[in-house]
């Protein structure tokens, strides 16, 4: 086996010592073989790891539940509902004209994470955002009429005191960015599909 790797005539004579240790100088055929073997082993190890790592990613049944349909027809103006999407709450709010005006009258310079209200909605009155505070993941208050809505009439996160406005933009407190607007489409005038 060992001779086959360094056939007779090569300058590398094979003994126990160099079979175990190898020569530091002179790249030899042996070095080349060692490197190619190591390269194959690395590719093989990566190939072995692939299915194991892949098995930890979301499975097909989890992906199959990755979108949520919401019927908007029962939501009156000024009301909000919370729906579950990918294990997280999504706030769907039918904003009043007053709330929309409030959101659109704010100058960009006052915003911590500047974004126009128009860029955050598809239809003026319907605001759809992921109800997870961008600080450390709590669910902000403000969905129920009795909830504290914060200083800007939107949402208030009780964990660390972040205040969001009627466009769910961060106005005050430790949260770094606005509540996230998920990908969604209007499947009809009274229904959306989130995800």
């Amino acid at each position: 086996m060992v001779e086959a790797l360094a056939p007779g005539g090569g300058k590398h004579s094979v003994t126990h010592e160099d079979a175990a240790g190898g020569h530091p100088s002179d790249p030899t055929k042996r070095d080349f073989l060692k490197l190619t073997t190591a390269a194959f082993a690395a590719v093989g190890a990566a190939g072995l790891a692939w299915p194991f790592v892949g098995s930890l990613a979301p499975s097909k049944d989890v992906l199959a539940l990755a979108s949520t349909e919401v019927d908007l027809s029962p939501i009156q103006e000024g009301q909000a509902v919370t729906v579950m999407w990918r294990g997280k709450p999504v706030f769907v709010r039918n904003r009043s004209a007053e709330e929309v005006r409030e959101a659109r009258s704010v100058p960009m310079s006052e915003l911590k994470d500047p974004a126009t209200d128009q860029s955050r909605v598809q239809r003026d009155n319907w605001l759809v955002v992921v109800g997870v505070c961008t600080h450390l993941g709590c669910v902000p208050l403000g969905q129920k009429p009795t909830d504290a809505k914060g200083d800007y009439n939107g949402w208030f996160c009780p964990c660390h005191g972040s205040h969001y406005d009627t466009s769910a933009r961060i106005r005050k407190g430790p949260a770094p960015t606005n509540l996230v607007v998920p990908e969604y489409t209007f499947t009809s005038n009274t229904a959306i599909r989130i995800g």
Partner: protein
């Protein structure tokens, strides 16, 4: 070199720092680098390393399966089907685990046979052998409990039948069985504890494997000639000679393994286990997994409940006594022409029992099973002790190197030999 530090010869400064405080590098170099190993191993000596790799594969795939498995009677079957259909590569991981159990038993049976044929259990390796039997018993327990987890028909009824073996215990049998079940039948508590133990035991096996290898490295390996190495001429450093030889074996082993997994993943299983467990209906033929069949046949060979159970357990426990039942001073069957024939007959009896174990309990299978059972024990309890005294073994070679060189000298010398490929392995010593 400070006080209390290990005198390390490692060159790399970081590794050296570690090695002085915890000499793992020195240990690996000593036990797997320069470790003097008989130069005349054949491929039977691959199977210890293969078993170790198989254990690692079972633990790796098992840990990932456990991430998606639910040990509850109402959800276990569906969670396994979800692994097969929905979890990314779940089918692959499960089929590797399933067939890995079969591969493990194939490898370990060959490993045990190697020990029997070449007398590896004889002094000074008795404890090494006995630790091996402990590993085998732990493997059987682990495999049995693992087979229960998918909660199919065979899982349920296999668990019922095997746990009921303990009802044969006089006086307190039924109480023992109730205790094993954690209830009045195989049910959710049983499934829960089997899952817990199925996860635990492989790590116990790993511990006993460590002891098994530690004992091996005290006595050194046996070899096909069964004579101890006398000097440097008789051994080779483990690396690279046997790391390479083991690698060749591993490639062949993985090829067989991959063939099973990708082309016939359910061949060694039983279709009834894809039917969810039903405590109200027993399948027509309850058959254990193939690797338990010989012992199952011994159980059924005895027309008495307690007798069958005792004989079945005795058929493995007798292995513990093997170092003392074999009275011959000569280890390798190569030099025992008569005993060798009876050992081959024993191997045949083992396969006959495996065949009979898969057949229904009716004639002529019962009678054949009884004959094979009788020979199974006759070999251990009568033939082996007697032959050691009666048989005249062939003369043993002076040394391993003499035997190997002598075999080469006997080859036709003048013939054309391809260069390179025919380089003399002996010149390296």
């Amino acid at each position: 070199m400070g006080m209390g530090l290990h005198n390390s010869e490692v060159k790399n400064p970081v590794l050296r720092w570690v090695d002085q405080r915890l000499p793992v590098v020195t240990m690996i170099q000593k036990e797997y680098g320069t470790f003097p190993t008989p130069r005349n191993f054949n491929y039977f000596w691959n199977f210890g390393a293969l078993a170790m790799i198989n254990l690692a594969i079972m633990i790796a795939t098992g840990v990932f399966l456990a991430m998606n498995y639910t040990p509850h009677t109402a959800m276990a079957f569906d969670s396994v089907e979800r692994i097969m259909r929905d979890v990314n590569y779940g089918w692959l991981i499960r089929y590797v685990h399933m067939n890995g159990a079969s591969m493990f038993f194939i490898v370990v049976y060959i490993h045990i046979y190697r020990g029997m044929y070449y007398g590896s259990y004889k002094t000074p390796r008795e404890l090494l052998w006995m630790l091996g039997v402990v590993i085998f018993l732990l493997m059987m327990a682990t495999a049995f409990m693992g087979y229960v987890l998918p909660w199919g028909q065979m899982s349920f009824w296999g668990a019922t039948v095997i746990t009921n073996l303990f009802s044969a215990v006089p006086l307190i049998g039924p109480e023992i069985v109730t205790w094993l079940w954690g209830g009045f039948s195989v049910d959710n508590p049983t499934l829960n504890r089997f899952f817990s133990l199925h996860y635990l035991l492989p790590f116990v096996i790993t511990g006993v494997v460590f002891l098994h290898v530690a004992a091996l490295h005290v006595t050194g390996s046996n070899n096909p000639l069964g004579i101890e190495p006398k000097d440097k001429q008789d051994t080779l450093p483990f690396h690279p000679y046997y790391t390479i030889k083991d690698s060749v074996g591993i490639v062949a082993y993985l090829a067989v393994f991959a063939f099973l997994v990708f082309f016939m993943p359910n061949y060694l299983g039983h279709p009834d286990n894809y039917i969810p467990a039903n405590p109200l209906s027993t399948p027509a033929h309850i058959v254990p997994e193939w690797y338990f069949l010989p012992f199952y046949a011994i159980l059924r060979a005895v027309p008495d409940k307690l007798g069958g159970v005792v004989l079945m357990f005795a058929s493995i426990l007798v292995w513990f006594a093997l170092p003392w039942l074999d009275t011959s001073k000569v280890r390798s069957m190569r030099f025992r022409p008569i005993a060798r024939i009876f050992l081959f007959l024993w191997v045949i009896s083992f396969f006959v029992l495996m065949y009979v174990g898969a057949r229904p309990a009716e004639q002529p299978y019962v009678f054949i099973g009884q004959l094979a059972t009788a020979y199974y024990f006759l070999w251990f309890l009568v033939l082996l002790p007697l032959l050691g005294r009666l048989e005249k073994p062939l003369p043993l070679p002076e040394s391993i190197s003499r035997a190997v060189l002598g075999a080469r000298a006997a080859l036709p010398g003048g013939g054309p030999v391809p260069a390179g490929a025919a380089a003399k392995p002996m010149d390296k010593a």
